[in-house]
C-alpha cells in the first residue's frame, strides 16, 4: 500500500499503467488523476485502449505494471467485487434470465440488504431513469435505450463512488443519444458521484465532460477541459480528432512567423527552432474569405455546401493547399477569393515523433 501526494479530493489515480495483449502494447505508461465528482471522459478512436483502461479500473484486467489508487489506497490487485465502483457495460449485459426488478436488485441482494430497502431502491432507481412500472419486464422485451437505462439503474442502486460507463450510448440512434446525454448529466448531478465515461464521439465528449483525456494507441495525447481541448489542441492528432481542421505542413521561420507553401503567415507561437518543420492547424471557422487583394494568399472556390447554420466551402489556394472553410457568407463556385487568418487562430504544433503516432481518421 502506498500513500501518494495528491490533492485531497482526488478519488482515483492511475500510475504508469502498462498493458500488453499477445506481446502487443495496448496501454503505454498511462497516468492520470480523477477528482471527486468529476465527469471525466476517455476519448479516442476505436481500438485505442479505452475499454482496456476502463477494465483495468474496474478490476477485470490486470495491468502488466503500474498502479490503480482509490483514495490513495493501492487497489491494483483487488477483484472487481471488492471495488467501490460499478460499470455500465458497452453491451448492457443485463441478465437475460431475470426480470428488470431482479436485475436491479442483484447487487443489493448480494449485500444482504433488507427486502423493504431493496424495494425502495428499485423504485427510486426506476424513477431516476424514467422507467417506472417496468419491474416485471424481461430484458429481451426492452428496446436498446430502455436496456441502457436499466443497466444504469442496476449500477447506481449500489451507490458506487465512481460509475464507469463504456460507450453507453453507442448503439442508440442520434435523437435518443442526444436525449440520453442530457439525462446522464442530470443523473450525475442528482447522484453527486464521479463518472468515468468512454466514447469515441468527440461531440459527446465535448458536450458532457468536465475534463477530457484524449487517447491514441494507448498513449494520452492531451488532458484538459472541453474548451481547452477544442481551442488549444496540443498536437495534430488532437486537432484532427476534435472537430475538422486544416492541418498543413509549415516551416517555422522564426518566432511568431510561419511559412506555408512559401507564403508568410504571422502567428503567436514561439520557442521552435529556426526553420523547423511543423504542423499548422487552422479551424475551418477561423479561415476568413476576403477580397483577393486583401488576402495573405488567394484561391478559387471549388465547392460549397449549406450545412444549416453555415456554409462549408472548399477553396483551392494558389499555394497548392485546399482549405476547408466554414462561414455564414455564400460564395459561388469559381469565385476568386483572398484567404486570411488572424495570428491568434493559427496553431503551430510539433510534428509527431514516431510514425506510429500518425493521425488516425476519426471516422474509421
Amino acid at each position: 500500500m502506498e500513500q501518494t501526494t495528491m490533492t485531497s479530493d482526488s478519488i482515483l489515480e492511475l500510475k504508469h499503467i502498462h498493458k500488453t495483449f499477445d506481446d502487443k502494447t495496448i496501454i503505454d505508461d498511462l497516468s492520470f488523476q480523477i477528482q471527486k465528482n468529476e465527469f471525466i471522459t476517455l476519448l479516442g478512436p476505436s481500438g485505442c485502449g479505452k475499454t482496456t483502461t476502463l477494465r483495468i479500473i474496474g478490476g477485470f484486467e490486470k495491468p502488466d505494471s503500474g498502479q490503480v489508487l482509490f483514495h490513495g489506497t493501492d487497489i491494483t490487485n483487488y477483484p472487481p467485487e471488492k471495488r467501490e465502483l460499478n460499470t455500465v457495460f458497452q453491451s448492457y449485459s443485463l441478465f437475460p434470465h431475470m426480470n428488470v426488478e431482479d436485475n436491479i436488485a442483484f447487487g443489493l441482494r448480494l449485500k444482504k440488504k433488507s427486502k423493504a430497502y431493496i424495494r425502495d431502491r428499485i423504485s427510486y432507481a426506476l424513477r431516476l431513469v424514467n422507467l417506472e412500472g417496468f419491474e416485471k419486464r424481461r430484458p429481451v422485451s426492452l428496446s436498446g435505450g430502455q436496456q441502457q437505462r436499466i443497466a444504469i439503474a442496476r449500477a447506481v442502486v449500489n451507490e458506487p463512488k465512481i460509475l464507469l460507463l463504456d460507450e453507453p450510448l453507442g448503439a442508440l440512434d442520434l435523437k435518443l443519444r442526444q436525449e440520453m446525454q442530457h439525462e446522464l448529466i442530470r443523473l450525475k448531478n442528482e447522484l453527486g458521484i464521479t463518472f468515468i465515461y468512454v466514447t469515441h464521439d468527440q461531440e459527446e465528449a465535448l458536450t458532457m465532460s468536465d475534463r477530457i483525456i484524449v487517447m491514441n494507441q494507448g498513449i494520452i495525447q492531451q488532458v484538459g477541459n472541453p474548451v481547452d481541448i477544442y481551442n488549444e489542441p496540443q498536437n495534430a492528432f488532437v486537432a484532427d480528432f476534435i472537430g475538422e481542421s486544416n492541418i498543413i505542413d509549415g516551416i517555422m521561420v522564426r518566432d511568431r512567423l510561419v511559412t506555408i507553401g512559401g507564403v508568410a503567415f504571422p502567428c503567436v507561437d514561439e520557442g521552435f527552432s529556426p526553420n523547423q518543420l511543423v504542423d499548422v492547424v487552422i479551424r475551418p471557422e477561423d479561415v476568413e474569405l476576403v477580397e483577393p487583394e486583401n488576402g495573405l494568399t488567394t484561391g478559387i472556390v471549388r465547392d460549397i455546401v449549406f450545412k444549416g447554420v453555415h456554409y462549408e466551402i472548399q477553396v483551392d489556394s494558389q499555394i497548392g493547399i485546399s482549405f476547408l472553410v466554414q462561414t455564414t457568407q455564400a460564395f459561388s463556385v469559381g469565385t476568386s477569393v483572398g484567404i486570411r487568418v488572424i495570428p491568434d487562430n493559427i496553431h503551430i504544433m510539433n510534428k509527431p515523433i514516431s510514425s506510429d503516432e500518425q493521425i488516425i481518421d476519426k471516422d474509421a
Binding site: 477485470f60 477483484p79 472487481p80 467485487e81 460499478n86 449485459s93 437475460p96 434470465h97 448480494l110
Partner: protein
C-alpha cells in the same frame, strides 16, 4: 405453389415413416388378435412382470441420465475456462465415437467388460480380483452412458459455452464472487441445455433393448426387451404395440414435465 412442391418429399416421408407406422401401432394396440376393440394391451403395462420391467428401465435410465449430467456438466465448465482454440478439439474428440457403428461399439464394450475380457486381464496384472460386471445392470448402465453421453455433452456444452463473458463481468462488478457467479448466472443460464440433454439421453435409455441384450446377457429384462420379444419371439403384435404405446405415453408425460421450464425459443438452438 413452388414451395408446396418442395415440401412434398418431406410430407411423404413424414406420412410414410412416422404417421402411418404410428397409426398402425396405435391400431394394433387398441385391438385384439381378431380385430375387436380393447384397452387390455395398453393396460397390460400394469401387470407385475411388465411393471417390474418398466421400473427397472426407469431406474437404469435415470441412473444413466444422472451420470451423464455429472460427467458432461463439469466438462463443459472446464472447456469454458480453457482457451478458445482448444474448445473445438475437445468437442471433436468427444463426438468421435459417434462415427462408429452403435452395435459395434456395444460389442466392443462387451469384450472389454466380459469376465475374461480386457478389463479383467489388466486387473489381474496388478493382482486385483476380477470384476464380474458383464451381464449385470451396472454393465447396461455403463453401456448406456458410453453410448448416450455425446447427446448430453452437446446441448450442455453449447449452453454453457454460449454464456456471454460480459454477464459474468457484470455479476462480478455488482459484488458477486465465484460462487455467486456460478449459482446466480451460469447455472440458471445452463438449465435449458441440461433439460435438452436430459430428454435426449433419457428417452433412448428408457427404450433401449440392444444394449441390455448384449451387455445384460439376455437375462435382464428391460421394458424394451419385453416389447421386442413380443414382436419377434411371441409374435403378439397387439400386446407389443400396447406396451409401446404405454411407454410412449409415459415418456411424453415425463418430457412435458421437464419441458415446462424450458424456453420455447431455445429449443431449436440447443439441438444445433
Amino acid at each position: 405453389m413452388n414451395r408446396k412442391l418442395l415440401a412434398a418429399p418431406y410430407l411423404v416421408w413424414v406420412a410414410g415413416f412416422i404417421i402411418i407406422p404410428l397409426l398402425f401401432i396405435l391400431g394394433k394396440a387398441l385391438t385384439t388378435a381378431d380385430g375387436g376393440f380393447t384397452l387390455q394391451n395398453i393396460a397390460a403395462i400394469a401387470s407385475p412382470i411388465h411393471r417390474k420391467a418398466l421400473l427397472l428401465s426407469l431406474q437404469l435410465a435415470l441412473l444413466c441420465t444422472v451420470i451423464c449430467v455429472l460427467l458432461a456438466y463439469p466438462l463443459a465448465l472446464i472447456v469454458r475456462s480453457s482457451k478458445l482454440n482448444q474448445q473445438s478439439i475437445v468437442m471433436f474428440i468427444l463426438i468421435l465415437p459417434m462415427w462408429m457403428n452403435f452395435i459395434l461399439r456395444i460389442l466392443a464394450l462387451q469384450m472389454l467388460l466380459s469376465n475374461n475380457g480386457i478389463l479383467n486381464m489388466i486387473l489381474s496384472r496388478f493382482s486385483i480380483a476380477p470384476l464380474e460386471i458383464i451381464n449385470t445392470p451396472a454393465a447396461i448402465v455403463f453401456g448406456m452412458v458410453y453410448d448416450f453421453l455425446p447427446y448430453m455433452i452437446l446441448p450442455v456444452m453449447n449452453s454453457i459455452l454460449s454464456i456471454d463473458n460480459n454477464l459474468i463481468a457484470a455479476a462480478r462488478d455488482l459484488g458477486a464472487n465465484g460462487f455467486h457467479v456460478f449459482w446466480k448466472v451460469i447455472f440458471p443460464l445452463s438449465l435449458p441445455g441440461v433439460a435438452s440433454g436430459i430428454t435426449m439421453v433419457f428417452v433412448p435409455a428408457m427404450t433401449a433393448f440392444v444394449i441390455s441384450d448384449i451387455l445384460g446377457g439376455g437375462k435382464i429384462q428391460l421394458l424394451g426387451n419385453v416389447i421386442e420379444q413380443e414382436f419377434s419371439v411371441s409374435m403378439d403384435w397387439n400386446l407389443g404395440s400396447g406396451l409401446s404405446v404405454a411407454l410412449m405415453l409415459f415418456i411424453l408425460a415425463t418430457s412435458l414435465l421437464l419441458g415446462r421450464g424450458q424456453n420455447q425459443s431455445d429449443r431449436g438452438r440447443l439441438l444445433w
